[in-house]
């Protein structure tokens, strides 16, 4: 079932001068999977992710995302993925509706599609009352959900989430993960980086990066068995301390 592998990475490497940020990592992600990409700060998560979303060219190795080669078809990849950064980047001085319209527009949706999408989205998120308020006035948790929905506006095959739950309260985090599950159930692959170890438990599979290498990759359950740990936090600590 080769076509079910939406991300295929072999020996992907990125060096900056003498420093090897990402050191020959290899992994595969299947369609509809929630793939957790873990690692301490500076372990190379963000660099690896930037190569996969087509804004950084790898030094060597191979990678296919959504069926396209990252070296030669970065533009095709961009059309087929969604991306949400840790800043929940939306335009604060635009209203909820204007933000949706704008991002729908740059992904090439027609006006009719945008209208349908934004109605659906606003309804799903319960944002009817604030649809015409500026995004800057919304609480962080709402911005986060809106930002996630906007990253899914063009029904991408894969959505990349870069530490999507930073700075929000536990309830908002919980609700956010429910949204992730919904997206995965609809067949969207979710590639998520996080440093909350309890969130790692929600993933189908997790990889843990240490110093540019993937040191462990499996389901949370198997990882816990392998490292004889009670929870993912312990697994992570054992790995990070070597």
């Amino acid at each position: 079932m080769e076509h079910n592998k939406v991300i295929q990475v072999t020996h992907l490497t990125k060096t900056f001068g003498d420093f090897t940020a990402v050191n020959a990592i290899s992994f595969e992600v299947e369609k509809g999977e929630i793939f957790g990409f873990l690692g301490a700060n500076g372990a190379g998560k963000t660099t690896a992710m930037k190569m996969l979303i087509g804004i950084s060219t790898p030094t060597s190795g191979k990678a296919r995302v959504a069926g396209f080669d990252v070296f030669t078809h970065a533009e095709d990849i961009k059309r087929n993925i969604g991306y949400m950064s840790q800043k929940f980047a939306l335009y604060d001085d635009l209203t909820v509706k204007e933000n949706i319209t704008f991002f729908g527009g740059i992904y090439g949706l027609s006006r009719k599609q945008i209208r349908e999408k934004s109605a659906l989205l606003i309804d799903e998120l319960g944002l009817e009352k604030v649809a015409h308020s500026l995004v800057g006035a919304l609480p962080l948790g709402w911005k986060q959900k809106l930002s996630f929905s906007v990253s899914l506006i063009h029904d991408p095959k894969i959505v990349f989430l870069d530490e999507p739950t930073g700075g929000v309260d536990p309830i908002a985090r919980r609700q956010f993960w429910e949204m992730i599950y919904k997206a995965a159930n609809r067949g969207t692959t979710v590639f998520v980086t996080t440093h909350y170890m309890d969130e790692a438990e929600y993933c189908d599979r997790v990889s843990i990066m240490v110093n540019g290498r993937i040191e462990a990759l499996d389901t949370p359950k198997k990882l816990k068995e392998q490292f004889k740990a009670a929870n993912m936090n312990d697994v992570f600590l054992k790995l990070a301390r070597g």
Binding site: I53, G54, I55, S56, T57, E75, K78, R79, I81, Y83, S85, Q86, K87, A89, L90, Y91, D92, D93, L94, E98, T101, F102, F103, G105, I106, Y107, G108, F160
Partner: protein, 368 residues
Amino acid sequence: MKRFRGFIQKEFYHIFRDKRSLFILFGMPIAQILLFGFAITNEINNVDIAILDHSKDATTEEIINKIGASKYFSIQQIIEKEADIETIFKKGKVKAVLTFEKDFSKNLIKEHKATVQIIADATDPNTANTISNFVNAILQKYQNELNKEVTIAYQIVPETRMVYNPELKSVYMFVPGVMTIILMLVSAMMTSISITREKELGTMEILLVSPIKPFQVILGKVFPYIFLSIINAIVIVLLSLFIFDMQVQGSLFLLGLESVLFIVSSLALGILISTISASQQTAMMISLMGLMLPVILLSGFIFPISSMPLPLQIISNIIPAKWFIIILKGIMLKGVGIQFIWKETLILFGMTVFFIGLSIKKYKIRLE
């Protein structure tokens, strides 16, 4: 194209919802033109002067009357002794004192020579200079009247005619300069700030991950400012016409084209600045220090380039604004056509191409 239109619409939302940028965009040009036109002026009107007349005869009285009658001076005080001069200056109201020597009239007739001393308060050198010139002119005129009856052989009378700005209105000098500054400011500073803002907010990253091309992002960001800069140029020309009665002598079409060229070069500079600055503050500081100061000091806007030391004269050549001001003065004041300013236009064009090239290169490097 549809993507692009949505992008531009978004940019206009940004601009019109930010009171600060709106103020810079539309308040600044109006404020600057009015300030430079009215407040900062080299003309003098009703300057207070004092007279110290040691002679008190018919001739000095006639001269004093002539000076008092002119619209440039008003005689504030007649003082009696030398010692008063200093006290009167220290009070600050009187800007100049005219001292007539003893036996003025007698000397004039007997020796064909009499002296008037003009003592001007040079804490403001420009005004002092102007006052002295104006008094000289009045005395010269009086002298000519006297000499009408007497024929002196071989007299050289210099007759100065100020062309292109016969009334020496300072607004004529400031309008091209202000227009240059405003276009530069709006184009370079506002663009660099608006691009770095996207970087700061993290939305630039989102845009780069989306299918929209980087050059579309940049074009989308600069397009509204081209449009607004052109409106600003029109506002400035209209203001100077209706408030200061300054007509554009040359072709408006040519003026428009040259302005667009300068706007594009400033936009390229703005993009360049945005590639080297990480925050809006940095972008603003670089724009202000790196662009505004050289434009004000070295472009010939206020200080004539020909009287600068040689190194500064050489440096002034690399400032696009210098060339644009020459072009503007040519078109607006002298009414010249392209045949007289093609060289400056070509230089400006070359600089524009260079800046665009450099900013594209820088932008690509940054993406890596």
